[in-house]
């Protein structure tokens, strides 16, 4: 019968319960200490929250790629971080060219969407090739096999792009109209954060429309539910899978440009690794395979990362709390996997299979 119904004592359950209590205690004590010390003002909290939302919306865009592919193939595309890198890295050169000619600052509302399109198309191509070359031949093999392939593909992409563009760091040029901040009731919010959040939101709305309203979107959902019946409807499964990789790739590439505008530094061949894992965490957090879950998970992770270190870790007296955002992110991943493996919006696997 079900494990939780037995009365037998289990060390695993006991440890997990203790862990649960300790975590809640830690969060409460840390937050209490911070709030009662009043070290951080309300305006600063709002600023942290806004920064978290922008960062989170970038995670969300990347996380959608993981979730779309998982929804359709039950496979984690661990090379997705590199798909993100491909678009971001390639577009640096376009951005530099736009900057040199002055186009970037003369017509930013034209230049930035063009950059987003370009990065999206680059990443889309990479994602489609990845599917075609590395994953499709292995379809139907045990689930571990494509996972290992993904790691191989990930290194292959990193070093291919290193070969193409070199190993040095590049930076996106500054966009003038995105500098500065606007003041809302005494709280200054950087314009770039507003730009990041709303452009990511616009892309997510486009995705939502695509999946919910269009013929190919319905086919994607049909394929993710039952491939065999989808074939009986005349749906070309291979095309739909390729299309799904393409859409995920496009979102990752556009996230690359948005990220480049948000944090100009640090564009190089290895840049996809951390955002890739963070976005994977976000996808798991929201419930992998679930599209609104990935969006929510991304935003949630971004906010937790921004607020968590200051609120909890600093309150517990941990030094250099601000540099420990990654600890928060990956602790979240572990906690979700222990306490709610299906994620925030995910359904239990047993229900899904029924």
């Amino acid at each position: 019968m079900f494990k939780w119904k037995t009365d037998e004592f289990s060390w695993v359950d006991f440890t997990i319960d203790v862990l649960r209590v300790l975590i809640v205690l830690g969060v409460v004590v840390g937050a209490w200490n911070t709030l009662s010390s009043g070290r951080i003002t309300l305006a600063q909290w709002v600023n942290l929250f806004a920064a978290g939302l922008s960062q989170g919306s970038i995670y969300a865009l990347i996380a959608l790629g993981y979730t779309l592919v998982y929804g359709i193939l039950l496979m984690i595309n661990f090379a997705h971080g590199e798909v993100f890198m491909a678009g971001a890295f390639s577009t640096v050169f376009l951005a530099e060219a736009f900057n040199r000619t002055g186009f970037l600052n003369d017509q930013p509302l034209l230049a930035i969407p063009l950059m987003i399109m370009f990065a999206g198309l680059v990443s889309m191509t990479v994602a489609i090739l990845l599917e075609r070359v590395a994953y499709r031949p292995l379809r139907g093999s045990p689930r571990l096999v494509p996972l290992i392939t993904a790691i191989g593909a990930s290194f292959f992409l990193q070093y291919t792009f290193r070969g193409l563009y070199g190993s040095g760091f590049k930076a996106y040029p500054q966009v003038k109209i995105l500098q500065g901040a606007i003041s809302l009731g005494g709280i200054n919010i950087p314009i770039v954060q507003i730009f990041v959040f709303f452009s990511a939101l616009a892309l997510m709305l486009c995705l939502y429309w695509l999946v919910e309203r269009t013929r190919i979107g319905k086919a994607m959902r049909a394929v993710s539910e039952n491939k065999e019946v989808a074939r009986l409807m005349g749906i070309d499964i291979d095309f739909v899978i390729m299309f799904t990789f393409g859409v995920g790739g496009f979102l990752a590439g556009s996230a690359g440009v948005i990220n480049g505008v948000f944090r100009p530094q640090g564009v190089n061949f290895f840049m996809g690794f951390i955002p890739g894992i963070k976005a994977f965490t976000a996808a798991v957090l929201g419930g992998i395979g679930n599209i609104p879950g990935a969006m929510l998970g991304g935003l949630f992770l971004g906010v937790i990362e921004a607020i968590g270190p200051n609120l909890v870790l600093a309150g517990l007296g941990i030094p250099g709390a601000n540099q420990l955002k990654d600890v928060i992110a990956f602790t979240m991943l572990v906690l979700v996997l222990i306490f709610r493996p299906q994620g925030i919006l995910g359904e239990r696997l047993s229900e899904k299979k029924a």
Partner: protein, 236 residues
Amino acid sequence: MALLEVKDIHTYYGNIHALKGVSFEVDSGEIIALIGSNGAGKTTTLRTISGLMAPREGSVTYDGEEISRMRADLLVSKGISMVPEGRGVFAKLTVEENLDMGAYIRRDGAIKDDLKSAYSLFPRLEERRKQFAGTLSGGEQQMLAIARALMSKPRLLLLDEPSMGLAPVLVDGVFETVQRIASEGVTILLVEQNAHMALQIADRGYVLQSGEVAISDTAANLQQNETVQKTYLGID
């Protein structure tokens, strides 16, 4: 010439020899019943015709064309549509989206009209068009699966156990619907464990036994056949 001609097909699940040389024909406009007990190879036969499985030997000819190695999704545009075993509705798509998927291969403007005629055939579906298909009852799901298969405007409709798991009242309704579809000129190949009902509406029937055709005759004769009566109709 027959619309569908199945000739000596051998289909395997891995090493399991499921079909051992099945042959039969379906003429245009007929209702053909394939009956047999569990594991006789009825479903495998349909899956082989619809392209979900490929036979190792033998041929399937549809409208004069060899199709046994063709992909399932391409066969739909040739006019073969299948209602799979267990209905196979997309639970997380709405009723109307399921019907849209049935018309996936079509680009013509008549889809809206066909949606209307699907709803007039099954008014229950229209009431529930915005509901997720997973929330429908078994009978409604069967209606949806049939209506969806018709949305591709098939010439040949393959039905796998349409009465399975339905209350007896609903079973009559399903078979009436099948007859109505046939009267509109759709050729029907029906796989059933409910041999009694299947033979009542069919023109001809084939009895499958351990992967082979054991008896083939007109439906009326099969109903009188002693072996069929004993084994499949429960008449002593």
